[in-house]
């Protein structure tokens, strides 16, 4: 969720560009709702608990769930340990991809600066 916290600081600019932020994870709705409140931001949090989009998009990080002392997720609490490989897509009005960020390392997230630049690029078209 690091990338969400980073974007939160630029939320006004993103809204002004007419962009809706949709954040997808394998977290159950209760966790996502808690995160939404904590970030206090009007992002749409979507829950793909079964990970149905992982193979459609090729963004499955098999066994990627970090240990419980980081996530607070108890062993066996979830059906699987697969999570999304951090990936950010910017879609235009026709539902076409205009920009993608696919970091090679799971320690890296899409930088807010690059996301904002991509959004500005949309407006210039």
């Amino acid at each position: 969720m690091t990338e969400l916290g980073e974007l939160r600081k630029h939320y006004r600019k993103i809204l002004d560009a007419g962009v809706q932020v949709v954040a997808v994870s394998v977290d159950p709705p209760a966790s996502s709702e808690k995160l939404r409140r904590r970030l206090d931001v009007d992002f749409t949090f979507v829950c793909d608990e079964a990970g149905t989009l992982m193979d459609v998009l090729g963004i499955r990080h098999q066994g990627g769930l970090p240990p419980a002392f980081i996530t607070g997720v108890r062993p066996g609490e979830r059906e699987h340990d697969d999570i999304f490989a951090a990936t950010t897509y910017l879609l235009d009005e026709e539902g076409r991809v205009r920009w993608v960020s696919r970091p090679e390392s799971y320690r890296v997230r899409a930088p807010a600066r690059e996301v904002l630049r991509a959004i500005e690029g949309l407006s210039r078209r």
């Binding site: 977290d27 980081i70 009005e93 205009r98």
Partner: protein
């Protein structure tokens, strides 16, 4: 007198390994505890590399078991950092589709507030779609 010199030399030998460990520890503290941003940790790797350089200088200046052990430790630390960041933490080949210009596949999933989000119904709007790893 000689003993005192030896003690000083072995204390100086501690500096490089401590610097290296601090570099790695600081990275994890900043990226996990404070989670401000996540980038490739070049600056922290630079600290670990500086520690290795320092330990090599110490070893050349005052050769002995303490400086040799410190240098060996720093080599191991650089090897660990290299393996961890350049190999272990890599996803290993990523899908390239859908890419720019291609349509995003439609989906319909529940939201955190109990509603349903269907991407197809959001046509006419620009969407920043973020697949994130979790709420931690």
């Amino acid at each position: 007198m000689r003993r005192l010199c030896y003690l000083e030399a072995s204390m100086a030998a501690w500096v490089a390994p401590l610097l290296g460990v601090a570099g790695i520890a600081l990275y994890f503290l900043v990226s996990i505890r404070f989670a401000v941003y996540r980038r490739f940790p070049w600056e922290y790797l630079a600290v670990v590399a500086a520690a290795l350089l320092l330990s090599a200088v110490e070893l050349v200046r005052t050769p002995g078991p303490a400086t040799a052990a410190a240098a060996a430790f720093c080599v191991a630390l650089v090897a660990f950092a290299g393996w961890y960041f350049f190999s272990y933490s890599q996803y290993g080949g990523r899908e390239t589709r859908p890419g720019p210009g291609e349509p995003f596949p439609d989906f319909s999933l529940p939201t955190s507030s109990g509603e349903t989000f269907r991407l197809g119904a959001a046509r006419g709007r620009r969407i920043l779609l973020i697949f994130y790893r979790g709420d931690w």
